[in-house]
Subunit: 300 residues, 2 copies
Amino acid sequence: MKSGEFTLINRLTKDIKTDKSVIIGVGDDAAVLEFNKKEYLLLTCDMLIEDVHFLRKTSPQDIGQKAVCCSVSDIAAMGGEPKWMVVSAGIPKNIKTAYIDGIYSGIKKAAAKFNVNITGGDTVSSDKIVIDISMAGVVKKNNLTLRSGAKLGDAIFVTGALGNSYKTGKHLKFTPRIKEAQALVNNFKINSMMDISDGLSGDLWHILERSKLGAVVYEKYLPKSKSATLDAALSEGEDFELLFTVSKRQARRIIEKFPLLCKTPITCIGEIIKSGFGFVLIDKNKKPLQIKPKGYDHFA
Amino acid sequence: MKSGEFTLINRLTKDIKTDKSVIIGVGDDAAVLEFNKKEYLLLTCDMLIEDVHFLRKTSPQDIGQKAVCCSVSDIAAMGGEPKWMVVSAGIPKNIKTAYIDGIYSGIKKAAAKFNVNITGGDTVSSDKIVIDISMAGVVKKNNLTLRSGAKLGDAIFVTGALGNSYKTGKHLKFTPRIKEAQALVNNFKINSMMDISDGLSGDLWHILERSKLGAVVYEKYLPKSKSATLDAALSEGEDFELLFTVSKRQARRIIEKFPLLCKTPITCIGEIIKSGFGFVLIDKNKKPLQIKPKGYDHFA
C-alpha cells in the first residue's frame, strides 16, 4: 500500500472501528491480521493505471511485473513473505491481445519468482488499462516489523541507492527487497521497517510520526543513485528500497554480518532522535535543514 | 469474483501452478486457502469502473455500497463470512470531495452492516473513478460450498427473483445473500452454490461445467422479477441471488424449514441431470430449449 495518499486513506478510514482480529489496520505497508498461533496474515493492495503509472508504450511485461513487485515490497517491509494474490484488471476493448498476454506474462513471471500463488481475479472493460493486485502474505509473529517501532538512539539504514528511479527505469524493473528483509528479520532485531515508495523525505516521516520520534540524516552518508541530485534521492519516489531502524548494538552486528548474507549494499544514514527535532538533514556543508514531509503525492 | 470473463481469467491462469496452500484457486466465487484447523481463508476481488458499472450521476453512496456488496456476495456464495477488506481507488483530480466522501461513506456503511473490517488501501489518480475491493473471509471447512459439488438428481434452487436488475436499480442496491447463505450452510447439506452475477443462463453453466453434469430448468417455476421477460430473467446479470443445488431429501427439508429461518423466498427451479443434456429449459409451452452459456460478457 502506498502512503503518499495518506490524507485520502485517512478520510476513508476516519472513525472506523475494527475488531480484535485486526492487529494493525490502515497506516503501515500492509494490514496485520489474525492468522494462526505462530504467524500473522498480511494484506495489501496496489493499483497501477495507464497514463498515471505507465504508458501504452511501456513494455507490458514490465507493467505486469511491477504490479506484483509493489505488493511483494509491502509484504517484505513487514518482515513477511508473500503467499497468495488476486488480480483485478480493467482492459480496453480495442487493445491487442498480445499486449494483455504480455502483462499477464509479467504477472506470472514475477509471481513465480517470489513464490506467490495466483488464486483468482476479476476482469472488466475499461478505457484505460488498470491493474490492481491484492496480496496476502504471512509473517512470523517475532519477525513483524512496523513503522511504529523505532526507538530513541536507533541507527537509520537504507538498502541500495536512492533517486533517479524514473530516469533509469528502476521504477519498472526494481527487485523488491524480500531477500534482504528476510535476512534482516531472521538474523537481527529490527525495530522499525518500511519500503521507500514515495521518497525518503516523506516515508521517513511515516516512521517518525508513528514512532513519535525525530531523525537526523547526513547527506554525506546518503547512498544517492548515480548522478542523482539530493532532491531526487530525498523526494522522487518509487525506489522501493527498505528503510529500517535498529539499536546501535544491532547496527554494528548488521554492518559486520549482513554483507555475508546479501550482496545488496546497506548504508547507515543517520539516527533517531527526540520528536521535537522533526526530520533534520545535515547537508554536505554541515548545515542543518528541516525536512518537511513532501515526497511524491499523486494529489499534490 | 465475476465469472463472465472466464476466458480472460483463464488466459491469466493458464499453466499456473499453485502450492498445496491453495485448496481452490481460480474458477469459483472466491479462492479457498489454508487458514487454520477448522476454517479456510477465502479471497476475492471485484472492480467497478465509471462509465462501465456506473455513471458520474449515480449516487456515490450506492457505488461504495455496491463495491462492498459484490465481494460480500462472493464470500457468501462459498458458505463463508467476510472479515477483512482493502480498497484500491482511482480518483480523478477534478472530482468534488463530497463525491469521494459519498463513495467512502457507502463503503463504510456496507462494511459495518456486514461486519467487514476495512484494513487499508491504495489511492491513485485516474481519469475515471475506479474502485477495487479485495475481501478476505473465513468459512468453516464443513460449510464450504463449491461450484463443483452438484450431484446427479440434485434439486436446483434460487433465492429471490431474477431479471430487470438494471431497470429497477437492484444492481446497485441489492443486499448480498449472506444471511440466507449462512442459514443454508448451517442447517442443510448444500452440494453446490454460487452467486448469480452474470445471469442464470451463464452462471448455471459454471456449476454444470465444474460438476460435469447437466440441468433441466422449468420456465413455469422461474421466479421472474416483476414484468421481467424470460430473457431478462435468464441472461441479464447483476441479480446477486444465490443459485444452489441439494439432494431431493434436503430439498424437502429446505422447503419446509428455510422459511422459518429467513423471509427471502427460495424457489426450486429444476433438477441436475446427466451431462450429455447440457442446460435444457422447458418453456411455458412445455417445449425444451437448449440454453447455451451467454450471460453478460463484458468482452462479448
